[in-house]
């Protein structure tokens, strides 16, 4: 009790500092409402409006027009010719690649 006076002032100082810090710590930190509205909420609302307005047209079936026989025939022909190389039954398979016909090795006796 005798040396209260000396640390008294530092105690008061510390107490004041603590009080100040407590005040600062209890500050409610929120984004300013305006910032969050324009940067986040509004963007989503706009996208929703766009989707709602266009959903009907996106859902409509797309009608493919009837093709002329010449076009259809030409497409079939190009498909066949383009894939001809990939068709093993057409091009034949050498026995080295043929899983159904392993190459038989000759054994020299």
């Amino acid at each position: 009790m005798s040396n209260i006076s000396a640390p008294n002032s530092s105690l008061v100082l510390v107490q004041k500092a603590v009080k100040q810090l407590r005040l600062e710590a209890s500050v409610r930190r929120i984004k300013p409402k305006f910032e969050s509205v324009i940067a986040e909420v509004d963007m989503v609302i706009n996208e929703l409006h766009f989707t709602i307005a266009n959903l009907n047209s996106w859902m409509q079936p797309e009608y493919v027009s009837k093709n002329l026989v010449s076009q259809a025939a030409a497409e079939l022909k190009t498909f066949c010719l383009q894939n001809a190389q990939k068709d093993p039954l057409l091009t034949g398979v050498p026995s080295s690649d043929n899983p159904f016909r392993p190459p038989k090795s000759c054994i020299l006796l």
Partner: protein
């Protein structure tokens, strides 16, 4: 009675309209478009493997998507899953009803299905927990025999039946999701498009119908055959359909031009087509006939470019593997042959 007459007249009018509309789009023929293409040389395929094991007529076979396993169904009451490269039997599944007419392999490889005169489609799980193959579901609601079935995924399967309808089933619940009615005769075969959005069915009313799976509607009907359509398949790009019929011809129909492009017939062929499969590029069409042979056609030129003769009885089923490496034929002589 007056209304019937009116409706009949309207039917005739609409049919004439459709024929006329198709004619206006027929500005050319496939023969003209393919005139510059040379005919494929003689195609000679040899039997590489013979899968022996069935004891009675084989009625159906289907390749798995991995191109090594295939399943075959025979009226000895067995469904056999074969490893085609080693000719080993991976699974031999005994069936409750031996009158089986069709079988299918799921794209995932986990399930196989079969059905026949029992009017039911039985789904078997190949990858059961304890290694046993058991019946997973029995889909029963058809009032006629099951002529063909094809998986869309592990949860959906489409079946065609002798009661003139095709049905889309939900395998988990075992219920019918959609019934596709419209054929006037037994639906004999079906094929699913490569994008799984459409399927086609061929029936004994001499027509083939294109169905939209999601909308549950028949989009197009193709006539022209003079007898029952026994076999049907999609062209590899999904834009054309090939049908094989008891009148010994095969026809190629284009879906977008909505008409027949070509007929594959020959005066020397007099027996009906039982099954068909296009090769991977679509250039070759392999058709199995009642005269024990398989004829190979050049699809663009409509010329016969090969014959596979090796079976001692009617060729009942044919399939080309998904990588196009081989074709498998099954016959009433109880053997399956792999050709390459």
């Amino acid at each position: 009675m007056g209304e019937m007459e009116e409706l009949r007249k309207e039917m005739e009018n609409l049919k004439d309209q459709i024929t006329a509309a198709r004619k206006t789009f027929q500005d050319s023929t496939l023969q003209e478009a393919a005139a510059g293409v040379t005919v494929v040389g003689r195609v000679q395929l040899k039997t590489r493997k013979t899968l022996r094991g069935h004891l009675a007529k084989i009625y159906a076979m289907h390749w798995g998507t991995d191109s090594t396993l295939c399943v075959s169904a025979s009226q000895d009451g067995k469904l056999i899953v074969w490893d085609t490269i080693t000719t080993n039997k991976v699974n031999a599944i005994p069936l409750k009803s031996s009158w089986v007419m069709t079988c299918a392999y799921a794209p995932s490889g986990n399930l196989v299905a079969c059905g026949g005169l029992d009017n039911m489609c039985s789904i078997y799980n190949l990858k059961g927990k304890d290694g046993n193959v058991k019946v997973m579901r029995e889909l029963a609601a058809h009032t006629g025999y099951l002529s063909c079935c094809r998986f869309l995924s592990d949860t959906e399967i489409i079946t065609s039946s002798g009661d003139c309808t095709c049905v889309l089933w939900d395998i988990e619940t075992g219920t019918q999701k959609t019934v596709f009615a419209g054929h006037q005769g037994d639906a004999m075969s079906l094929g699913v498009s490569p994008d799984f959005k459409y399927f086609i069915s061929g029936a004994c009313d001499f027509t083939a119908k294109l169905w939209d799976i999601r909308e549950a509607e028949c989009r197009q009907t193709f006539g022209g055959h003079e007898s029952d359509i026994n076999a049907i398949g999609f062209f590899p790009n999904g834009n054309a359909v090939i049908t094989g019929s008891d009148d010994a011809t095969c026809k190629l129909y284009d879906l977008r031009a909505d008409q027949e492009l070509l007929t594959y017939q020959d005066s020397s062929i007099m027996c009906g087509v039982t099954s068909l499969a296009p090769s991977k590029s679509g250039r070759l069409l392999l058709a199995g006939h009642d005269d024990f042979n398989v004829n190979i056609w050049d699809m663009l030129k409509a010329e016969r470019v090969g014959v596979l003769a090796g079976h001692d009885n009617r060729v009942s089923c044919i399939g080309v593997s998904s990588d196009g490496m081989a074709c498998c034929t099954g016959s009433w002589d109880s053997f399956l042959k792999i050709w390459n």
